[in-house]
Amino acid sequence: MIASVVRWLDDRLHLEGLIAPLSHKTVPTHRLTYWYFFGGITLFLFVVQVLTGILLLLYYRPGANEAFESVQYIMTRVQFGWLIRSIHSWSANLMIFTAFVHMFSVAFLKAYRKPRELTWVTGMLLLFLVMGFGFSGYLLPWNTLAFFATKVGTEIAGQVPIIGRPIMIFLRGGEEVTGATLTRFFGFHVAVLPGIVTVLIAIHLFFVQRQGMSVPPQVDAEWTANPSARKEMKFFPNFALRELMAWYVAVGTLGVLAALFPWELGVKADPFISAPAGIKPEWYFLFMFQTLKLIPSKVWFIDGEVLGILGCTLAGLFWVMLPFFEKDKTGLIVTASARSSQIRTLTGGLSVFALAYVVGMTIYGFLAK
């Protein structure tokens, strides 16, 4: 039956030509192959986000007077509404987590090296946008924690010299976090960000498709020394079926989290009450939040918060530009082999430091009062 439908379509659309490159595509097989799955899992979770987001849109009403009540309605009255919302929220967090894992695995396996610099850059942009998804989506239920987290978050953005205040007013839709902010964030969350992310994902996947999977330097060196050790598997169906297994695991994890720990709704936001004590942002912003907290209010003559924001921005930019600091003799910047090796060691050390810093500060942020 399926075969006849495929044949029918192939007669008219010549699908064979489209599928042929996939059947020829191969994936290197080595002891670190499992890290390749995280990109696919992130993509899968993004698809889950889109599908559950569309379902939530059927009932969600953006507006300070309706948003909370509409989410409450979804959670209590809509058939399986609780499941859809919980999966949407958990999937968002898992997606950011797997995106981070994917980024660090690429950094440690040095998969960003030439010719994959632009793949790294588009991936980093996607990570920033995914965090933007998290920030904008967090406000949408219009509960107390979300309200004040958004207030604090936009305030931090407002500390950036010169452009900070206009950015804050643009994000908030005014001086304060109000219903206008909610409507604006809703627009970013369901229209602006998905549009940009979809285009960037297409570009990212196009780069991966064109360049193939990167082989880690140490594996590559082993294979060069012993060519018979080189192993590959077909992308379709061998790798794709394994990726499918990973997606099933992701679905199971989402199901467990959604059923055992339904995403809570909280209390409706009241702009006139004071912020709850010890308010913290979502876990993926915690390392930056804790960094800003630790910087003294004044460092020499510079405002501590401004210094922290500038520092985080520069560190982020540096991280995005990481591939361009690591060149070999064939790169644009010709460096001596020894120097190149030193730089490679330095970037490796930087990756370890970045991971340790993000994990350490996140844990510290959780434990800090």
């Binding site: 209590t76 079926l241 297994m245 695991v249 199971g252 467990v256 709704l265």
Partner: protein
């Protein structure tokens, strides 16, 4: 020549401006340093005669521009005591206690004058005072009773809204107690002196002094301040109705109202006492310690049975509300969304409060209506909590089935991959 004329004109103009400035400067300095020989001498004195500049500057009258001579007469500009305190200059000396209300009233009962200082200030204090027990006794020659300065202080009188004022709501009870808790001072009047001690244990004191609720009553709320009792109140025991409106309405229609009136019993005070009013509880309807009904009623009579029914109903609703709370808490801790039921719990609690208010009607049917309304909500909320737990179990069952299906798929895929690659 024209140039010289212009120059002379300019010089003249500059001189004129400088001279005018000098006049203004000297005038300001003279005004700012107006002589007050009273304070210069009295600030060096001790005891009743001692009044420092610092103390007097806190007085609202000083802040409004009044001086010592405004009340005491005399000539404050003279440093010659015979001139400063001469009868010719209108010096009155220490004001006789009996004359104090009239002296204060000479300004405070003059609406035209008071309007220039504070248009919202009352001007009937002296008239009110004359109707009070303090005013009447003073008129009859008893100089021990309170006059204006006993409550408002003297030489450092602050407006009542100032937290440091002796007549600020938070401080009123303490101010009254200075005389009314002094057993020796009050001995000749034959009235109790434990009012402040009792009030300090009351729910009203707790609300006012501990929780800072300025709407909570203090002595003057019930007894009046300058006058006797607040307007519209025939007896002080009926003053409770000013705040506890619903209870008073219920009580007014009850059988107790007429019976208490006939027997000369003081209404609310019979059950709740007066100064030492504690937070009411259902224990008051019981027969044990703290029960009030059985002080008058006989065990087993019609009223005792009604009392027992009301108490039983209240306990029933109280228990239902607690059970609903527990069910909702359990559901919440399991991550279930029950905020709507949680909100409805407020209505159940309101019904319980309303039933406790309706008790003052002493009609079991009316109380029963409130109880039923509350029970309906509390039972529904409890069911919402229990349903949420059933739903949670259903979700877990569904999760189990899904996980099995996913497990089967994973095994199937793995077997297929193995077969494919073998």
């Amino acid at each position: 020549m024209a140039f010289l004329r212009n120059n002379q004109r300019r010089l003249f103009a500059v001189r004129s401006v400088l001279l005018a400035g000098l006049f203004v400067l000297v005038g300001s300095l003279c005004y700012g340093q107006a002589a007050n020989s009273c304070l210069d001498c009295h600030s060096a004195m001790s005891g009743d005669l001692g009044v420092t500049q610092e103390k007097f500057s806190q007085d609202i009258h000083a802040q409004k521009g009044l001086t010592c001579t405004s009340c005491h007469g005399g000539d404050a500009s003279s440093y010659d005591p015979t001139q400063a305190m001469s009868r010719k200059a209108g010096w009155k000396g220490k004001i006789d206690r009996k004359q104090i209300p009239a002296l204060c009233g000479s300004c405070h009962s003059n609406p035209t004058l008071m309007k220039t200082f504070n248009p919202s200030l009352r001007t009937d204090q002296l008239d009110q005072y004359h109707t009070s027990i303090h005013g009447k006794r003073l008129a009859s020659g008893d100089a021990k009773v309170a006059v204006c300065v006993d409550c408002h202080s003297v030489h450092d009188i602050r407006p009542p809204r100032d937290p440091r004022s002796t007549v600020n709501p938070v401080n009123v009870a303490k101010t009254c107690s200075r005389c009314h808790s002094d057993a020796a001072y009050m001995k000749q009047y034959g009235i109790p002196t434990d009012q402040f001690a009792n009030y300090s244990t009351s729910v009203h004191h707790d609300a006012l002094a501990v929780r800072g609720d300025l709407s909570a009553p203090t002595c003057t709320t019930c007894h009046g301040n300058h006058g006797a009792t607040p307007p519209g109140v025939d007896k002080v025991q009926n003053v409770c109705a000013n705040c506890h409106v619903f209870q008073a309405q219920m009580y007014a229609k009850s059988t107790h109202s007429k019976v208490f009136q006939d027997k000369g019993l003081p209404g609310c005070v019979v059950c709740h006492s007066n100064h030492g009013i504690h937070r009411p509880s259902d224990v008051m309807l019981g027969t044990g310690q703290g029960g009030v009904c059985m002080r008058c009623h006989t065990v087993g009579d019609h009223c005792d049975r009604a009392r027992a029914n009301i108490l039983s109903d209240l306990n029933r609703l109280d228990t239902a509300v607690t059970q609903a709370d527990t069910a909702l808490r359990v559901a919440e801790s399991a991550g279930m969304e029950v905020s709507e039921a949680r909100l409805n719990q407020d209505q159940a609690r309101d019904a319980l409060t309303k039933a406790r208010v309706t008790i003052h009607s002493f009609q079991t049917t009316l109380v029963e209506q409130d109880i039923q309304a509350g029970m309906k909500i509390a039972v529904a909320n409890r069911k919402a909590g229990e349903d949420a737990m059933v739903e949670r179990n259903y979700r877990r069952l569904g999760l189990g089935v899904c996980l099995i299906a996913i497990g089967v798929m994973l095994v199937g895929l793995w077997l297929y991959i193995t077969k494919l690659e073998s």
